[in-house]
């Protein structure tokens, strides 16, 4: 099958699993572009950092839209900053767009979420 361009949009802090899901598609020979929206960044575990690096190795790319990506990412882990309008233009070329999980929450999470 032809390789598809697939954007995985992550708007909710709980659903950063969309990065893993994107990697799963990259392994299936597709171009995976997970997009972290408005600063809903994942906790940068070794596993998460490896997944992001692996997506780049598989000719995909992880984007940060709306907020600049952290500057202290682990070595080999890259996120490309992109504006909403640039994202929209890029996604016109997408074969598949996956708004992943749930929308952004209205309020900041309470401390209990950190446990």
């Amino acid at each position: 099958m032809e390789s598809l361009k697939i954007y995985v949009l992550i708007a909710n802090r709980v659903y950063n699993d969309g990065i893993r899901s994107g990697l799963g598609l990259a392994v299936e020979n597709h171009y995976a572009y997970p997009v972290i929206m408005n600063g809903e960044f994942p906790r940068m575990s070794d596993y998460m950092a490896e997944n992001i690096a692996w997506i780049a190795d598989m000719e995909g790319e992880v984007f940060s839209c709306g907020v600049d990506a952290p500057t202290d990412l682990p070595e080999g882990t890259e996120m490309t900053n992109i504006t909403l309008e640039e994202l929209g233009e890029k996604m016109r070329e997408a074969d598949v767009i996956i708004p992943y999980g749930l929308p952004k929450q209205s309020h900041e999470p309470p401390a209990a979420c950190g446990e």
């Binding site: 099958m1 598809l4 697939i6 709980v14 659903y15 699993d17 969309g18 893993r20 899901s21 990697l23 799963g24 598609l25 392994v27 299936e28 597709h30 598949v96 996956i98 708004p99 992943y100 999980g101 749930l102």
Partner: protein, 110 residues
């Protein structure tokens, strides 16, 4: 393998859309189409609702699968607690999502 023109793929990423999944699957079946569904991450909790069994009964056994890793991550036992309607062979990897994209003429995320 070319996409099946009579098959709808549903990629389930959220845990709150079971009524939409069922409603759309029923509509597809009424129209004489087959439906292929993959549940990943938090959506595997939907396997615990009674509607999940109904969904599996509308689809071919091999056309419904869940992400085994997600199921385990969410605390469920992938050996002793296989959801009703699934076989152990349908506890799959993200590759099943790739198969949906390959096999289904139409596709929607839920």
């Amino acid at each position: 393998m070319a996409a099946d023109p009579n098959k709808l793929g549903i990629f389930v990423t959220s845990n709150q859309n079971m009524r939409h999944i069922l409603g759309l699957t029923r509509a597809a079946k009424r129209a004489g189409k087959e439906v292929m569904v993959f549940f990943t991450f938090k959506s595997v909790h939907l396997t615990k609702s009674p509607e999940f069994l109904e969904l599996t009964q509308m689809c071919k056994v091999e056309d419904v699968a869940i992400c085994a890793d997600s199921y385990i991550c969410e605390g469920f036992d992938n050996v002793t607690d296989i959801p009703p309607g699934l076989t152990d062979k349908q506890m799959r990897t993200q590759a099943f999502h790739g198969a949906i994209l390959e096999e289904c003429a139409k596709y929607i995320v839920m």
